[in-house]
Chain length 338, copies 4
Amino acid sequence: MKVKVGINGYGTIGKRAASAIQRMDDMEVVGVTKTKPSYEARLAIKEGFPLYAAAQENVAEFEKEEIKLAGTLTDLIPKCDVIVDATPSGIGAMYKPIYEKAGVKAIFQGGEEHGISGISFNAFANYQEAWGAQFVRVVSCNTTGLVRTLFPIDRVFGIEKAFAALVRRGADPGDKKGSALNAIEPSLKLPTHHGIDVQTIMPWLPIRTMAVVTPTTMMHVHCVTVELRKKATENDILSVWDNVPRIRFVSGKHGIKSSAQIMELARDLGRPRGDFMEIIVWQDGIKVEGNTLYYYQAIHQESDIVPEIVDCVRSMMKIETDPMRSIRKTDKAMGIGK
Amino acid sequence: MKVKVGINGYGTIGKRAASAIQRMDDMEVVGVTKTKPSYEARLAIKEGFPLYAAAQENVAEFEKEEIKLAGTLTDLIPKCDVIVDATPSGIGAMYKPIYEKAGVKAIFQGGEEHGISGISFNAFANYQEAWGAQFVRVVSCNTTGLVRTLFPIDRVFGIEKAFAALVRRGADPGDKKGSALNAIEPSLKLPTHHGIDVQTIMPWLPIRTMAVVTPTTMMHVHCVTVELRKKATENDILSVWDNVPRIRFVSGKHGIKSSAQIMELARDLGRPRGDFMEIIVWQDGIKVEGNTLYYYQAIHQESDIVPEIVDCVRSMMKIETDPMRSIRKTDKAMGIGK
Amino acid sequence: MKVKVGINGYGTIGKRAASAIQRMDDMEVVGVTKTKPSYEARLAIKEGFPLYAAAQENVAEFEKEEIKLAGTLTDLIPKCDVIVDATPSGIGAMYKPIYEKAGVKAIFQGGEEHGISGISFNAFANYQEAWGAQFVRVVSCNTTGLVRTLFPIDRVFGIEKAFAALVRRGADPGDKKGSALNAIEPSLKLPTHHGIDVQTIMPWLPIRTMAVVTPTTMMHVHCVTVELRKKATENDILSVWDNVPRIRFVSGKHGIKSSAQIMELARDLGRPRGDFMEIIVWQDGIKVEGNTLYYYQAIHQESDIVPEIVDCVRSMMKIETDPMRSIRKTDKAMGIGK
Amino acid sequence: MKVKVGINGYGTIGKRAASAIQRMDDMEVVGVTKTKPSYEARLAIKEGFPLYAAAQENVAEFEKEEIKLAGTLTDLIPKCDVIVDATPSGIGAMYKPIYEKAGVKAIFQGGEEHGISGISFNAFANYQEAWGAQFVRVVSCNTTGLVRTLFPIDRVFGIEKAFAALVRRGADPGDKKGSALNAIEPSLKLPTHHGIDVQTIMPWLPIRTMAVVTPTTMMHVHCVTVELRKKATENDILSVWDNVPRIRFVSGKHGIKSSAQIMELARDLGRPRGDFMEIIVWQDGIKVEGNTLYYYQAIHQESDIVPEIVDCVRSMMKIETDPMRSIRKTDKAMGIGK
C-alpha cells in the first residue's frame, strides 16, 4: 500500500513535491491545500490532485470562482500518513500544533527553525536520523547545496575549516516580491545563518558563511573555500563528487558559463519544469592550492530539496532502510542522473 | 515515407525545430549542423540526431573534443528533402546559393529579408502560399504574434488601422549578448520594421509599430490598438480568438500578471522546455472603446514560430492540403491546446 | 520677504523639492518632516533644514538615535505659507483635513486624486489655474511628461487623437520594493489612468494610454502617436518643442541611445543628483507619416515634477504673474537649459 | 607652474580624471583625446578641454560632424608633462611605445599588466614607489578597494591570510556591453587575478580571490575574510579604518542596505557625477570571531581610482613629497571626506 501524503501549500515547493511524489510507486498525493483560487489552485485540479482550502475562511473565495473543493485542511489531515508542509517561512511553526494534535507526521521546510523538529535532514548525510520520526525539517536549498558537496569531502579528506560566500538570486522567476532591481545587498548579520544551518546536519563542521543578494532569478551561486586535512588533487575531489548522488558537473569550456546557461541545459535535457535537482559544480572552476580547495557551485533554489523530501518520507515512514536505495529510486523516477 | 528534414544551425530555434519535427509522424530529422563542439553539439548527439559540422574548417575542433561527426553540411544536404535554416540573422542569405545549387528546399527565419524567398509564412494566414515552394521564410516571433491575433480580427471585423508598441525582451535566457542591464532603449528608426514585416503576409493592412528593448529575458509584450471597421464587444473579440489556433488566454485575476508568470505556467503545464508556442492574450486586459480595440499580448520569442516551421514543411512538401488539419496535427503532437 | 515652505515627507520628491526651493531667491524651506531616523533624516540636518517628526508617536525613535528634532508637523505648519506634501501615494489625502483646519496652503503630488484639490497643475499649460488657490495637485511624472510635449503640439497643430504606450521603470534606483526582477507586466485595467490624468489639465484632449512596467530603475519611456489636425514636418515639430521650456533633445547618432545613457549625460552635465528635470526627446526618433506623428520620450521619474512644484508655489502665493517668467527663473536657478 | 596633463581616452575614467585634475591647483588638463565624435567628445568641448583625435584616421569623422579638433594625439603629447592613459584594457600597452619615443611620462590603468610599468600604485600604500617614474600603473577599482582596507589592517594587526569573494557588477550604468541579463557567472580560472593583483602592491600578502559577475550596474561588493595575527575587536578595526583616508562607513540600520542605496547617498551628498570615490564599508556588517575578521565593502567602479590618479601625477612629477599631504589635498578638492 502506498504512503498517503498531503501537501499543505501548493506553491513553488509544494507543487514540485506533489509532482515528485506522484512519480513514485510507494507513495501518492491524497490532497493539496491552497489559500486562494489562484492559477495554481486550478493547476492542482488539472493535475488530478484533490484540492482543499487551507482554512474554512478561504472556502467562500473558491466558491465564488466556482472551484470545487474536496474540503479543508481539517478534512485532509486524517487521510494522510504524512503532511509535507510547504507553507511560507515561519508559517509551518503555526501549523505544527495542528499536526501534533491530529497525530500526523509532518515534514517542514528550511524556512522553519531547526527546533521545530530537532531533526534536520539530508538524504545522503543523515537519512537514518529521520527514521520513524514524527517531525522532520528538510533543510533549505542553500544548506542542501552545501551539505551535498561538503559532506563527502569531509568524509574522504577531512575538513579543517570551510567558508562560503553565497551569491543569492533575488527572487524566483514568477515572484513579484524580491530584491532591489539593480543592487547588490549583503546580509549584514554575521556570520549568516547558512553556515550555522549546515551545522544542524554536520554539527562538527567549522563552517562560516557570508551572503549577498543579487538581482537575478536564476540559481544561487556559492564561492566555497575548504581547508582539507588530507592532501587532494582537483581530480581526487571531482572523483569523490562523481561517486555521490545529486551532484552534476558542467563545463565553462563547453559553453555552460553562467547560472542561466545551466538552467537552459535543464530545459534542453527535458527535465520536468526545467528544474535541476542536482547541485551543479563547474568542473573547470575548481582549484587546490596547498591544502585549500576552491570551487563554485550553483543551486536551483526551486527544486534541489524536492528529492530530499521524497527520501524523507521514506525514512519517516520506515519504508526503505537503505538511504542509497531510496536516493536511487527517487532519482531514477525523477530523471536525475549523470 | 517521412519527409527528411535537415537543421542547419542547432541553436535556440534549431534545437526546438528538431524536437518538434521528431514528434511528427510525417517527417523526421536526418541531421543537424553545428559550427562548434559546444554543449548543444553534445545535446544533439544525446538526442540521437546525426551531427554534421557546418563547414569543413570546423571539423578539426570537433575532433579535438572527440565528438563524432556524420560529415559536413555538404554531406547532409543530399540526404534532405528540406533544410530548416536556423542560422543567425543574415547568415541564411549566405547559405541560399548553396541550397539553390543543390536543388534542396529551404525554410529561412524572420531574421532574413522577405526577398530571400518572396514568400513569408504564417500557417493560419497563408498556408497555401508556401505550397510546393522551394524557398519560404517563416516570419519572426514578433511578426508571428501580430499576425496570429490581427489576421482573424481583420477577417471578422475588418481593420481600419493598427498600431503596436513592442516592448521587447533584451536577450534570451541563456544569452550573454543582449540589451543594457538597466535601461530602456527605443528603436529610433521609425516606423520600425515589425509592422512592415506584418505586411509581407497581410499586405493590405495599415499597420505601424514602435519598439523599445528592456532588460528582461522573458517574452516580448505588445501594446496593440486597432481601429475596427465593424462594431465589436470585448466578448466578440475573445470569441474570435478562442476559435483560432495558437492563441491562449491568461487572466491577471488568477494571478498571471507578468511575462514571467506566463512562463511559469508553461513550466507547470509540463510544456517541453517550458516553452509557450501560443500567443498569450490577457483576457482581462482587453478593451473596446468606440471602434477602437486595445489589448496586450505576450510572445515567447524562443518558440512561437516552431509550430509554423512544421506546418511550412508540410505545405512546401505538399503532404497536407488543409491548413487547419496541418495545424491541428502539429499542435496535438506538441501538446499545444486550450 | 521669502515665501515660507514646509516639506511634509523628505523622500525622493521631498528632498529634491527642498533643494530646489532653497536655490530660489523668493522662497525658502522652513522645515521638513520624516517619520523615521533614517539616513535621509540625517541628510536633512546636514543640509541645514529644520527637522520635524511627522507625528508625535515618531519622536521617541528619533530621540533613541539622538537625532535632534525641531518639533512635529503640528509645530511646523504654523511656520509655513505653503506645505509641499510629498508623502507617499494616498497619504496626502489623509493630511488634507489637517492642512485645511490649519488654514495652510498645500501642494499635493500626482499620487493623489485630482479631486483632492480640483486643480491639477503644469506650469506651461495652466499656471493661472493655481493662482491664489489653497490646494493644488502637481501631476505625476508621466502626466507631466505627456503634457509637456503634447500641449505645445496641440496649440500649434491641433491634436485629433493621441495615444501613448508607457514603458515604465520598475522602481527608483534606491528602492527595494518594485517590479518583478525579470518580467514585463502590463497594466491590465484599460484605458490606464495616465491618459485620463492628462485630461485633468487638457480636458479637451482625446488621449488614451496603455502601460507596462519593466525591470529597470532608469526613466520611463513613452511611445507616443499623435494624429495632427494641421500638416507638419519632423522639423516643424522639433522647432515647436525647441521653443518651449523643459524639453531637451538627445540624439542616438551621438551615442545617447538608452534611458541609462540619458542619465549618464545628466551626471556628466553636473546636474544636481544627476537628475534630468526636462523631458527628453530623441530627435532622431521622431517621424511624421501623413497626419500621424510618432515620437519617443524619456521621463526622469525622480525629478521632472520638481520645477513644476516651484512654479506652483509662485502661482499659489501670487508672487509672479507671468508663467514664463516663473519658469525661466526656476530653470535658471536649477541649471536647466538647452 | 601647473603640471600639464593630457588624457588619452575621454571615457568613463578619462572624463573623471579630467574633472578631478581640473579641480587641483597644481595641475591642469591640456587636452583630451577621443576616437569618435560621440556625445562625450561634445562634452569635452563644453567643459573647455582642447579636443584631439586619437589618430589621424579619426579626423574625417569629427570634421563630418563639424566638431572642432585641436589636432591629434601626436600634437597633444609634446604639450604634456604626463599622459593619463585611460584607453580600454590592453590598448594602453599599444600606446606605450609612442609615449616612450616621445619621452613623456604616462599613467596606465589596471586593465594593463603590472609589467607595463613595473610599478603598481596606491597612494596610501606605496606613494613613494612612483616617485619620478616615467611609467606607473594605477591598479584597478577592485584592487584599489582591497588595498585600501587590507593595507592598514595588515600594518596594525598583521594579516596571516586573506580571502575575498568579489561580487562584481555586470556593466557600468551607461554601457551596452556587459554581463548576461539574468544570470550569475563565476570567473572559472582560479585563483582569480584580483588577489594576485593586490600582490603587485603588497607582495607579502597571502591573499586569494574568487569572483562572480552579476546583472547590476551599481558597484562591486566584496565579501572579505581575514585571519589576523594580533587580536582585534570590531571597534579596533573600525577605528583603524576611520583613521586612514578614502574609506567611508555606512550603516544598514540607517537604511543604507544595498549598493544602490550607497550610490543614492552619493547623489544626495552632491558628489560630482554622483560618484563615491571612497571604499564603502558597512559598519554593522563586520564581525570578528577568534582571529578571523569578516567584512563587506562596496566599490564604486567608475570612480574610486580617480583620486589615486591625481596623487600618482604628484609623485611622478615630484611636486609633493608627503603622501598624506597629497591625499588630503586631492580629497579636499574633490569633496571627499568623512
